[in-house]
């Protein structure tokens, strides 16, 4: 188990090796990247086996008094400053460890990341075939995965922050992978800048925590929160600041704007970003720092409210989008909102469970979308109004995409149903009435837009772009099939099966182990809504027995607002144009007029003018210097003579 740190190390090593030697490596280094992450996966399996067999008595392990879960720490000194004996005040000494934490949350997250990453990279072998920067793609993929794995393993906030920023950097590199085109370029910049706004909050939060606790260690920080060393106000401030970082990375309103644009990158990258890295970092951060959030009811309410707004808003946008990848992107935002909502509703297990279920389904959906793009030869956007009826040309893609859509739409016995039900249950137990109503609505919308994407693209009448469609190569469909199996079956591990294993909630839990909850009323309602949504969409787009045109005209103003994504992008643009640029212009004027002209050029001007005047004595004629010397000697002689008299 102490060797779990190797999981990211392989990929970290693979990145520079591929960059330096891609010309000589077989397959431009791609096999190396896959081997590295595959090695990480193997180490993860071994770690999981030894963790399942571990007890509180195992070296480095203990049952955490805060989370109640078996937690193993392995750390080593990073650096020390002001070691006792050198500094008089021992409290000033800084001792920084870096190490890994292995607990159920880390285990399941590492599993998701390594598994999806292996799948995505295998899929990319086909998808990126022939790209001029094939090797670079895999180098950045390796670094991306390695950073995300480090993020999940970090046992102190400083290491977490480093990994956090690395993840941001890699997302920038991968979203802007085709930087020759303006779209990816701008999208990459947008993703970097928007998440950076949140990152500042995270950094300030970590520093605030450090100021109050005197350590970056998560264990110590949580213990300090638990024991009341941190005042209520500080706890709330830290929680909000950490949540700001999470909002940026997890694309929560109002920082969600970067994620829909991020699909400008290669589609497998979108799959990775949406399913296993980047966006789940925010949810992971809140889940990991949950003792801080749990200590402050206000913070939890903020998390829940932001999650709710994001979930509902993004779901409505997804419903009216016409671009396949954009629908999926807003669907991701919506489901991340649901996870945050769940965290805010004390549904910690449900959130992590949904994170996993959503991760598999969304990776599958994005890879399916990539397969569609590959099949119809589309570059960039897939307009669902122009493709349709692809089930004949791409049967396997149609099946696996449908499985992903049904799972995410919440159709029973598929993974998404169980995890969403858990969330709804947590929300109804711990939050005011309004939340469960809106959450139900979100679930319904979620089923609607998934059904719409699935039925139009694969089952409707044939579209104009789908004539030359063909099924994708075996490697791509194979990866999708494996993910489809998980999208179907993953949810079943939540049950309390007869035997030793007590269900997902008995392994991944906060505070106390939970069994599988089932509320027949809520579950029944959500089944009716989900199935109803799918049937409704089927009637509209496939049977065409229900017309929505009259509704579309009646709701035109609303549709326009939603279709323009609630003008959030425009609002940002307005703020940038009117506020930021105005202030910047003022500052620029101050910089030029005062700092530059007066402060810097002023003294230089004085010196130069003085120099112009003073240099005139340098005639260049030796005899003029000699005259001065002679006059000087005479003057000295007169001076001495006068003194002697």
């Amino acid at each position: 188990m102490p060797l779990a740190f190797l999981i990211p190390v392989f990929s970290f090593l693979a990145c520079p090796l591929i960059i330096l030697f891609q010309r000589w490596l077989p397959g431009r280094g791609a096999p190396l990247a896959i081997l590295a992450i595959g090695g990480g996966f193997v180490v993860w399996v071994l770690t999981t086996i030894s963790f399942l067999g571990a007890s509180p008595a195992s070296p480095g392990c203990d049952v955490s008094g805060i989370t109640g879960a078996l937690t193993c720490h392995f750390s080593t000194t990073w650096f020390e400053a002001g070691i006792p004996g050198v500094v008089a005040d021992v409290d000033q000494a800084i001792h920084l460890d870096w190490g890994i934490i292995i607990d159920p949350l880390t285990i399941v997250l590492l599993g998701l990341i390594t598994f999806v990453a292996v799948g995505v990279q295998l899929y990319s072998l086909e998808y990126m075939k022939g790209d001029p920067r094939f090797g670079w793609y895999f180098a950045w993929q390796a670094l991306f995965v390695a950073s995300m794995l480090t993020l999940a393993l970090a046992d102190n906030f400083l290491l977490l922050y480093i990994a956090w920023e690395l993840v941001g950097l890699c997302s920038y590199l991968l979203i802007g992978f085709w930087f020759e085109n303006p779209g990816p370029r701008e999208a990459a910049k947008k993703a970097f800048v928007v998440t950076r706004i949140g990152d500042v909050g995270l950094l300030v939060g970590i520093l605030l925590l450090w100021l109050n606790v005197g350590s970056f260690s998560m264990t110590e920080a949580f213990a300090a929160v638990e024991s009341g060393v941190l005042s209520e106000g500080t706890t709330l401030a830290v929680a909000i600041l950490l949540f700001l970082g999470a909002m940026g990375k997890s694309a929560q309103f109002p920082f969600h704007v970067w994620l829909p644009d991020a699909m400008e990158g290669p589609t497998p990258v979108s799959a990775l970003i949406h399913a296993a890295t980047m966006v789940i970092a925010g949810v992971y951060l809140v889940a990991r720092a949950y003792p801080i959030f749990a200590a402050s009811p206000e913070a939890l309410l903020i998390v829940a409210s932001v999650g709710m707004v994001t979930a509902l808003g993004a779901a409505t946008i997804a419903l009216v989008s016409t671009d396949l990848k954009r629908i999926l992107a807003y669907s991701t935002i919506s489901h991340l909102g649901l996870m945050m909502l769940s965290l805010g509703a004390l549904g910690w297990t449900a959130a992590v469970f949904h994170l996993m279920a959503h991760g598999f389904a969304k990776a599958l959906l994005f890879l399916g979308a990539g397969s569609v793009m590959h099949g119809v030869g589309a570059h960039g956007d897939v307009d669902i109004r122009r493709v349709g009826g692809l089930r004949r040309a791409m049967p396997l893609t149609a099946v696996v995409f449908s499985i992903g859509a049904l799972s995410l739409g919440g159709i029973p016995i598929l993974s998404g149903f169980w995890s969403k039900d858990e969330i709804l249950l947590a929300v109804s137990d711990h939050l005011p009435m309004i939340f469960i109503v809106l959450a139900m609505l979100t679930a319904f919308l979620s089923a609607l837009y998934m059904a719409r994407a699935m039925f139009i693209v694969f089952f409707g009448p044939e579209g104009e772009d789908s004539h030359h469609a063909h099924e994708s190569p075996f490697l791509m469909t194979g990866v999708m099939s494996v993910l489809a199996v998980l999208a179907v079956g993953f949810g079943w591990i939540s049950f309390n099966w007869p035997g030793a294993f007590g269900g997902f909630g008995s392994f991944v839990f906060y505070d106390h182990a939970e069994g599988f909850h089932f509320n027949i009323v809520l579950a029944g309602l959500s089944i009716v809504l989900a199935v109803g949504a799918f049937v409704l969409v089927w009637l509209i787009y496939v049977r065409r027995s229900v017309s929505i045109e009259s509704w579309q005209t009646r709701l035109a103003p609303v549709l326009r607002v939603v279709g323009n994504r609630y003008y959030v992008d425009e609002a940002y643009q307005w703020v940038i144009d009117r506020v930021i640029l105005t202030v910047s212009a003022g500052l620029a004027f101050f910089d030029r007029a005062v700092v530059n002209d007066v402060g810097i050029n002023g003294p230089a001007d004085v010196v130069r003018k003085a120099g112009v005047a003073l240099r005139l004595h340098v005639t260049g004629h030796v005899y003029s210097y000699a005259l001065v010397v002679a006059l000087g000697v005479i003057a000295l002689a007169i001076f001495w003579w006068l003194r002697s008299v």
Binding site: L616, G620, H621, Y623, A626, L627, A630
Partner: protein
């Protein structure tokens, strides 16, 4: 006996002529000649003083004469050096007029 003052006046006159030559002449050759004149004015002063101060206190006649010989030696070396420089100057710039040699000007 001729008073010491006469020799000193002769030296001062020679020195003044030399100084004037250094400052007023434009030809580098004549400037070097003027410097020689100034050196020899000093020599006259030294030898006259040595002769008059012979036997007074710690002085004897050789002190001044030895210094004068040194001055002559150094002056010979200096002339060699100076004319070598002037020769190079002429080769490079085609003139020995110091007015035209003003590379050090601002």
């Amino acid at each position: 006996m001729v008073p010491l003052l006469y020799f000193q006046l002769l030296g001062a006159a020679l020195f003044g002529i030399g100084l004037y030559g250094v400052l007023a002449r434009r030809s580098a050759v004549l400037i070097v000649l003027s410097i020689e004149l100034m050196l020899n004015a000093v020599n006259i002063n030294l030898i006259a003083a040595a002769s008059y101060l012979n036997g007074i206190g710690r002085f004897d006649a050789f002190d001044g004469q030895i210094i004068a010989i040194f001055v002559i030696t150094v002056a010979a070396a200096e002339v060699g050096l100076a004319f070598a420089i002037i020769l190079r100057m002429y080769r490079n710039r085609g003139t020995v007029n110091v007015d035209e040699i003003n590379l050090l000007k601002w």
